[in-house]
């Protein structure tokens, strides 16, 4: 595939299809979007197959000078590859989920989604700081439109909150980027990743980037836009928001904060761990008392994202690889959970948990898949949720046993709120005749959920497929940051080995 600008194609296809969708009728627009996203998925699979793990750090590199400091520089490493795969995998599912749910302004809707796909892929592929910024912030626009136009009754308030939060972070990040360019005279991300800023400057830059990434992820206490945005967004909007947009924050930490400012990252580790620890306990307890399904899943996302920040700032391999797997797994699982909410929302037009119950009776297929995703969300071994959670917590323990103790309470609380949700939705008896009369999943819905289920199990049983492409890149990151790695608090001091207390045979 050398010589072919695959990444440009990957970005151009949805972009062009999005424009095309604007000029056709509603039904044709759906098909255009579906075909375009499926082609992108196929291209993504080719990309994955062509990617050489253990090869050069940056592969499929393209560079075209646009003029001025701005360059069309693309290229990916294994970490970006995995997130690109997540995006191209979820996109056709989002289009499928909107197939019948969206009936007004369909061409514009499909165009917004395709534009979003192009921008998301651009974020992960960009090698130029300004290009990255444009994609990163540009992604706000279609999401903002999707919530603001096709959202629920309180969409205005939600999109306002969403916009204000993310904008506040963006401004600071932009200033920081300009300072970095001024200091080094380059906009190349690979060059900046090995640039050494003075520790005092690092601290300011780190904080500015943190403002943006913490909002995107989101971390406590800048998370309150997420539940509102999810509740108001259409199903597919929630899927992409939880599945890909939240990952931008984690990607930002791994691509910018850690390699560019290792000393500052170590310096602010207590801050990150404290906020993450609060997030696990706080948002899990809030999730427990939610009456709206989407809000519950949204709050659970905040708790799960805390595992990402714990893992990333653990400064060791298990932590970082675990954080990446948590991101991939959460992208699939929370996306699937939002689809599950969408399935019954489409039937009854309410997200109130109390209106459902006993769905195992009339929707056994739905109950089965919902159970699988619930278990993946609580991190049952054998599902994708476990591997990431386990590795990131292992890494956390090496960095801070206190952090691990607080983070691990998440496995208790997570089980409590997810199973309590499942009980109220799928078990018990139906209190309402309309809920009891809902039909089981149709073929389209099976096509949306079954592929995710398959990947969730694949990642749980054989995560090597996903860890392998990232291994060298995590290794490079580790060699970059290890000089700043703080010592863990779990100090082991070996005394003289005492004789075994009991005779052993």
């Amino acid at each position: 595939m050398s010589g072919v600008p695959v990444l440009s194609f990957l970005i151009a296809i949805p972009l062009l299809a999005g424009m095309a969708a604007l000029f056709v009728g509603a039904h044709a627009a759906r098909w255009v979007a579906l075909v375009a996203t499926l082609v992108d998925l196929a291209l993504g699979i080719l990309l994955w197959r062509a990617y050489v793990p253990g090869g050069p750090q940056w592969q499929f590199v393209e560079h075209v000078a646009i003029g001025g400091p701005l360059g069309w520089s693309l290229g990916i490493d294994g970490i970006a590859l995995m997130l690109i795969m997540l995006s191209v995998f979820l996109m056709p599912i989002c289009i499928g989920a909107s197939w019948r749910a969206i009936e007004t302004r369909v061409p514009e809707y499909m165009a917004a989604f395709l534009l979003m796909e192009a921008l998301m892929l651009g974020v992960f592929a960009a090698q130029d700081l300004l290009l990255f910024y444009i994609f990163f912030e540009g992604g706000l626009i279609p999401m903002y439109l999707i919530i603001g136009i096709w959202g629920g009754p309180e969409r205005i308030k939600a999109s306002y909150k969403f916009f204000l939060y993310t904008l506040a972070g963006s401004v600071l990040m932009l200033i920081a980027m300009l300072v970095m360019i001024g200091q080094t005279g380059t906009t190349s991300i690979p060059v900046l990743m090995v640039a050494n800023f003075t520790p005092s400057l690092q601290a300011w830059l780190w904080l500015a980037f943190f403002a943006s990434f913490a909002v995107k992820l989101p971390m406590w206490p800048v998370h309150t836009w997420l539940p509102d945005a999810h509740v108001q967004a259409p199903t597919a909007g929630s899927v992409i928001l939880a599945g890909v947009l939240l990952k931008l924050g984690g990607y930002g930490f791994i691509r910018f904060s850690l390699p560019m400012f290792p000393e500052a990252s170590a310096q602010f580790l207590p801050l990150v761990f404290t906020l993450s620890g609060i997030a696990v306990v706080y948002t899990s307890l809030v999730a427990l008392v939610q009456r709206d399904m989407k809000k519950l899943v949204a709050y659970s996302s905040v708790a799960h994202m805390a595992f990402v920040t714990f893992g990333l700032f653990a400064f060791n391999r298990q932590g970082i690889e675990g954080a990446m797997l948590v991101m991939l797994s959460h992208g699939l699982v929370s996306g699937a959970l939002f689809l599950c909410v969408g399935v019954i929302y489409d039937r009854l037009h309410t997200r109130e948990i109390a209106r459902y119950g006993g769905l195992s009776n009339n929707m056994p297929g739905y109950a089965l898949l919902f159970m699988l995703f619930t278990m993946a969300s609580v991190g049952l071994p054998g599902t994708s949720g476990f591997v990431g959670e386990f590795l990131s917590l292992t890494g956390t323990y090496r960095a801070s046993s206190w952090g691990a103790v607080v983070a691990t309470t998440g496995i208790i609380l997570g089980a409590a709120y997810m199973l309590y949700l499942y009980w109220r939705i799928a078990f018990g008896t139906s209190m309402h005749a309309d809920a009891a009369a809902m039909p089981d999943l149709d073929a389209r819905e099976w096509w949306l959920l079954a592929p995710i289920a398959a990947v969730v199990l694949w990642m749980g049983v054989y995560p090597e497929s996903f860890l392998h492409p990232m291994r060298d890149d995590v290794g490079r990151l580790l060699t970059r940051i290890e000089r700043a790695a703080p010592p863990g608090d779990a100090r082991l001091s070996t005394g003289a080995p005492a004789p075994a207390l009991k005779a052993q045979h």
Partner: protein, 685 residues
């Protein structure tokens, strides 16, 4: 050892679960049952030869690699099946009880509309349990650990339309997760200290770590003590030890075959298995061993006291299970790992037998579970009666040394003797509490037999029997419920009401008879392998920390000590006989004399009430507080809303938003931002 055999043993149940679970609707009810039951009998048939070869010493421990799993730096975990003596014991216990329970369920679940689902869950459970016992690494053990937890959750909540079943299932999962919290931290810590999660590697390195210290969450402790105690928290959750036991009695909401398989014979013993598997690690920490002993001894006596006042036949057996698990733990804690495994082995047979027998009684009594409405059943259901007698003789430990004894006689005696022979303070306390619990065991076990099979028939007052007599269609087995449905203080009138209980079908009786054979002969047949100072070392071959010195000492305890279990057993029998046969008014008189004690016991030492006050209600209250006060009134007020107001254009912005210019506004803002950035850069250049 052929690798393929081991793979078949473990994966046949998984295959069957998938076929029955996903294809049950397609292939139909009977094929689903045939596939699952057939797979289990095949697994069982393949397991016994392995066990026999370990008995004869002709088999070698082996590890069969299956697939790579998690590789992250120095963390390397693979799917692999390990078999040694300890695993071989568990293989036969799990597959034997599971296949018999599958068979039993043909009869017991006959009326249930979703049988394929039930059998799929049972097979899935068996697969997870087999993965647990064949684990070569702590992480795979955790896989099995959580897998059995999932199956247990699904099976407790099998009748998902019952609120009580759902509550019990949720409670079981969450309480087990509290244990898993400790187990997980234990795994993380073990990895930190040893740099590996491979069990053989950890066990080999453990002795060298004794004497080192480890910082954990602000404290400093002996490394091995910290790790063992964290792991032990996991064992406490799974094996329902005091403090984390509250889920087990509630788990009786599940169908009775489930109680027999999961909540008596196999899953709940996983904690004991874990401690035995990691015994070379535990023996390096005297503190951990002491804690294990105290927790086991406390559970053993505490659960037995509650078992004495329960009226629901299944709950009596559930508390009995809890208590017997306590025996196994204090055996492990006093260093008698062989005795712990021996009791695990015999207990699997006689406790599964008692549960299945109880199921047969419940079946005969039209889903009535309250023993106060039983009585005089020995003539009507003779096979159930005699097999349950065998189970009771086994659990109470009837036997004469050197002649013959039922299963529990050998295993329980070896535990008590080892605790005494240990010579430490905690060993002595465990011996005393264990002997006292043996008295109570005898009392509640015979109380169950006397209330159920002897005395006058008290069936007429039972609602279930009345339903049956009125010919109402009420065959749904999910009508099982506890004594909550009845007035707790009513004394049921005597009389059969014209009801005729019927003996269960052969599919249910065959498992009972086979398990009864186990309950009678498992002790005398296998004692020399599991615990005897001569043969056990060669049998275990290092798969657990067998202490030959202790085994010798246990053989030479004073004669009064070895006679104690028999004496207390007879006292318990006599007390039960007096209270429930000779002087039927005695229990009521006892309650009248000690109302406080009785209330304390019927409320199960108030654990549930205390936990509700300490944990459950505060969790919801704090959650609501964080949501409304934290998110809505603090973060939002001072965050987005505050920001808008502060800069003074909040009102205008909101007005603009509401008038529909949202999208334009956003676009303008962003384009402006991008423009500004570009300009700044041009300028900077």
């Amino acid at each position: 050892m052929h690798a393929i055999i081991l793979i078949l043993i473990v994966f046949l149940p998984l295959f069957a679960a998938i076929v029955a679970g996903l294809g049950g609707r397609v292939i139909g009810r009977v094929p689903a049952k045939v596939v699952t039951t057939g797979a289990l009998f095949l697994s069982c048939a393949l397991s016994w030869p392995i066990f026999v070869r370990f008995l004869t010493g002709s088999a070698q421990p082996a590890v069969v690699p299956v697939l790579d799993w998690i590789h992250s730096g120095d963390m390397a975990v693979d799917w692999a099946l390990r078999v040694d003596t300890l695993t071989a014991v568990m293989l036969v216990v799990v597959t034997t009880v599971s296949s018999l329970v599958h068979l039993y369920s043909w009869g017991y679940m006959e009326e249930d509309p979703s049988q394929p689902r039930f059998f799929a869950y049972l097979s899935l459970f068996t697969f997870a349990m087999l993965m647990l016992v064949t684990a070569d690494s702590l992480v795979q053990m955790f896989f099995g650990w959580e897998g059995v937890g999932l199956a247990s959750y699904l099976l407790i909540g099998f009748w998902y339309y019952k609120p009580s079943a759902n509550a019990a299932a949720l409670k079981a999962f969450v309480v087990n997760r509290v244990g898993d919290f400790g187990f997980s931290l234990g795994i993380f810590g073990t990895f930190l200290v040893f740099g590996t999660v491979s069990i053989p590697a950890i066990l080999a390195a453990a002795p060298a770590m004794a004497g080192s210290t480890l910082h954990f969450a602000g404290m400093t402790g002996s490394t091995m003590t910290v790790l063992c105690l964290l792991l032990f928290v996991g064992a406490m959750g799974k094996s329902a030890q005091i403090g984390l036991h509250t889920w087990l009695p509630d788990a009786m909401e599940g169908p009775t075959p489930v109680s027999a398989l999961i909540h008596a014979a196999t899953m709940v013993t996983a904690g004991v298995f874990m401690v035995c598997r990691l015994s070379p690690m535990f023996v390096t920490s005297e503190t951990a061993m002491t804690v294990v002993t105290y927790v086991g001894a406390a559970t053993c006596i505490f659960a037995a006291t509650i078992g004495c006042v329960q009226n629901d036949i299944k709950r009596v057996i559930a508390y009995s299970t809890c208590s017997q698990l306590g025996y196994m733990f204090f055996a492990a804690g006093t260093g008698a790992f062989g005795a712990a495994m021996f009791h695990l082995f015999t207990h699997a047979f006689f406790k599964a037998l008692l549960f299945l027998g109880a199921g047969s009684v419940i079946h005969a009594m039209h889903h009535e579970q309250d023993m106060r409405y039983y009585g005089a059943l020995r003539k009507d259901i003779p096979i159930t009666f005699w097999t349950m007698i065998a189970g009771t003789l086994a659990i109470t430990g009837v036997g004469i040394a050197g002649v013959f004894g039922f299963a529990g006689f050998y295993s329980k005696d070896s535990i008590l003797e080892a605790a005494f022979a240990n010579g430490s303070v905690h060993g002595g306390i465990a011996w005393f509490l264990g002997s006292l619990a043996a008295l109570l065991t005898s009392f509640y076990s015979w109380r169950l037999i006397f209330l159920t099979f002897f005395g006058p028939a008290r069936w007429a007052a039972s609602e279930h029997i009345q339903h049956a007599l009125q010919g109402e269609h009420h065959d749904d087995p999910s009508a099982e419920h506890g004594d909550s449905a009845h007035d707790a203080h009513a004394v049921p009138a005597t009389g059969s009401g014209g009801y005729h209980p019927h003996e269960s079908p052969p599919t249910m009786l065959v498992p009972l008879i086979l398990l009864a054979v186990g309950a009678v002969f498992a002790g005398i047949g296998f004692g020399r392998f599991f615990v005897s100072p001569e043969g056990a070392g060669a049998f275990w071959r290092g798969s657990l920390a067998f202490n030959e010195e202790l085994a010798h000492a246990a053989h030479h305890v004073p004669w009064l000590v070895s006679l104690t279990p028999t004496i207390v057993m007879l006292i318990g029998l006599a007390l039960a006989h007096r209270n429930y046969i000779r002087v039927p008014d005695a229990p009521a008189a006892f309650v009248a004399t000690f109302p406080g004690l009785h209330r304390f016991l019927t409320h199960k030492w108030y654990f549930d009430e205390i936990y509700a006050i300490l944990f459950v209600r505060p969790a919801f209250r704090i959650g609501r507080f964080f949501w409304h006060r934290g998110d809505e009134r603090t973060i939002d007020r001072f965050g987005p809303h505050g920001a808008a107001t502060l800069v003074g254009f909040g009102n205008r912005v909101t007005a603009r938003f509401q008038s529909g210019y949202v999208t334009n506004y956003a676009l303008v803002m962003l384009l402006g931002l991008i423009g500004a950035a570009s300009w700044a850069l041009w300028w900077a250049r």
